[in-house]
């Protein structure tokens, strides 16, 4: 990859711009709520974009490209079996509780629905997960530096961490929502030409299908009857239950960075519609993120450059360097760098908040002056970045970012989803049961991981192991919670109003014209999704 003056110029303009917006906004607005309050004239599709861009980052662009270079078109399932149904479910069934319960965070919902210890357990596991995830952004940024400046990996990681610290100090967080929406467009404009040029390079869809390593790479559903027939090494049951149900619903329904965007909407119906609107463009993301990975593994100019043993994370940077001329290269790199930085900064802030308020202030050292906690927050920021550098070296052991990310989700999100489902739809579920269930779920994931890691259980791919680990964690949490509920006393019914499905009046939006009702929108979105599944069968 070779950068020229114009590429540096484009990157520099972005940095100047972000710092500029940060200064301009300072004093005017500080939170995401201000952003949405100020934006009454802003149409609903922007809220939808913010919902989506909370999760679309370079992590998704680079990780999904790596994922599809390794496993082929089966990765479409992450969208057309996982994300889209989960987003519809959030919009129709879960948003009413989040929005109606006045909870402002996921741990807070758990405190209201269950008790303090369940919240603390969730806060702790969230803090650990955030630190482990933040290594991904640093790793990905370091890979870019490595390719651009030819530095060794260690130096690149430290440089990446330094850039993130500067970004946070300069107030990159004050304007975070602006950056996220801006980034979304930068990534779309920066990477759409890559998919189109890549497709042209391999001779269209027909040429792509011919040059993929084997037919298993070119189909979404055709080879899922038996695990041995497809590169992912999973059959339909593992896909539907492990990925489609546990991992995807677990992520979209309990990940607060995502849900929060919907909460900022101006009323319940807008909040419900947010994920549904976001689901429409999301459906076409495979074009943006999966196609480049497929091209990288099929195109003769790149397919032998993954190294030995292959590191699939190079799929996207490699293709970028091969196909983009100066100018466009600057745009693509700006999109990547921008989203790594804000992704990392977002993780650091999330860790900082949970550590300082949910753990430190609540349990370790309560009752101190505000300035004490502010200082603690600053220390936590520095500590989080430092730990992030260390976790970047863990990521180095994975040849596909998504293998690592889904591994983390199978530990933390999968059991949490069972706790949520039971809490929201079964009013009998008790607090002790939720705590015991969640803890056993996490521990069972750990047990499964050790058995897999030391070779006592065997799967056809690391991703297959993640799917089954998620199923184990979810099922253990579910069963333990149900069993313990049988032996413990439930909460009083009046405490559960607005928190549990059967205790909350359901608004069917009969007053709205039919095409504006969330359920109708959700069904149309799902219909479109089924069509895509059939086209790319």
């Amino acid at each position: 990859m070779h950068l020229s003056f114009v590429d540096y110029l484009i990157i520099a303009i972005y940095f100047a711009f972000v710092v500029g917006i940060g200064f301009w906004l300072r004093g005017q607005m500080k939170t995401s709520e201000d952003f949405f309050l100020s934006g009454r004239s802003i149409p609903g599709w922007i809220t939808g974009l913010a919902f989506m861009s909370a999760n679309l980052g370079a992590l998704e662009v680079m990780g999904m490209a790596a994922n599809s270079a390794k496993y082929g078109m089966l990765i479409n399932h992450f969208y057309w079996l996982g994300a889209i149904p989960a987003m519809c479910f959030v919009g129709v069934f879960m948003m009413p509780f989040y929005y109606g319960s006045r909870a402002r965070s996921v741990p807070e919902y758990l405190r209201l629905r269950y008790d303090e210890k369940t919240r603390t357990l969730n806060a702790l596991s969230f803090a650990v997960m955030t630190l482990l995830v933040s290594g991904i952004d640093l790793y990905a940024m370091a890979i870019l530096f490595q390719q651009l400046l030819h530095w060794p990996f260690g130096a690149s990681v430290i440089a990446a961490a330094a850039v993130v610290m500067v970004y946070i100090l300069l107030g990159g967080l004050t304007s975070s929502i602006y950056n996220e929406v801006l980034q979304f467009f930068l990534i779309v404009f920066g990477f759409l030409p890559l998919a189109l040029l890549g497709l042209k390079a391999v001779g269209g869809f027909a040429g792509l299908e011919r040059s993929l390593p084997n037919p298993g790479y070119a189909h979404t559903w055709k080879y899922v009857m038996h695990a041995s027939e497809n590169p992912l090494g999973v059959n339909w049951f593992g896909l539907i239950f492990g990925l489609g149900f546990v991992l995807s619903f677990g992520y979209w329904c309990t990940d607060f960075l995502v849900v929060q965007r919907g909460l900022a909407a101006r009323d319940m119906i807008a909040a419900q519609r947010t994920p549904l609107i976001a689901a429409v463009p999301k459906m076409f993301f495979p074009l943006l993120v999966i196609l480049p990975g497929l091209v990288a593994i099929a195109w003769p100019a790149t397919k032998n450059s993954f190294g030995d043993p292959p590191n699939y994370n190079y799929a996207l940077p490699m293709l970028l360097g091969r196909l983009y001329p100066s100018g466009l290269l600057g745009i693509g790199l700006t999109g990547l760098l921008a989203s790594f930085m804000s992704g990392m900064a977002g993780n650091v802030t999330a860790f900082n908040t949970v550590w300082t308020y949910d753990i430190y202030q609540t349990h370790v050292n309560p009752g101190k002056h505000d300035s004490h906690y502010l200082l603690m927050g600053r220390i936590a920021t520095v500590a989080a970045v430092t730990v992030g550098v260390m976790t970047a070296f863990i990521v180095l052991r994975f040849n596909n970012l998504m293998d690592y990310l889904q591994l983390l989700f199978s530990f933390f999100n999968a059991p949490l989803f069972a706790t949520f489902v039971l809490g929201m739809f079964w009013k009998r579920t008790t607090s002790h049961a939720a705590f015991t269930g969640l803890l056993s779920g996490i521990l069972s994931a750990a047990g499964h991981y050790l058995l897999y890691h030391f070779g006592y259980i065997h799967y056809r791919s690391p991703m297959a192991a993640n799917f089954y680990q998620a199923m184990v964690a979810w099922s253990v949490c579910f069963v333990v919670t149900v069993v313990v509920t049988g032996f413990t006393a439930p909460k009083k019914e009046e405490e559960l109003v607005g928190l549990v499905y059967s205790m909350t009046p359901v608004n069917r939006h009969a007053d709205l014209p039919w095409y504006k009702r969330p359920a109708v929108i959700a069904v149309s979105v799902l219909g479109l999704m089924v069509i895509l599944n059939i086209i790319f069968w």
Binding site: F17, I21, M29, S38, S41, A201, L323, S326, G327
Partner: protein, 69 residues
Amino acid sequence: MGGLDIRWPIGFIFTLYGVILLIFGATANPEMFESSLGMNIDVWWGAGMLAFGLLMGIFAMRASRENRT
């Protein structure tokens, strides 16, 4: 009502990037576009980004006028 309509910054930066790509692509040595399969993608994509940026700016302007009146 404080705050900034998100369409302003989007419109501004895409207009700027579009112009840069257009000028750079139009004046660059055609050999540079061998990597992009012989297509002068900078000019084409620059024009697209410019159009998108201007459109966002126009929307933002219309919205701010409506708010004022």
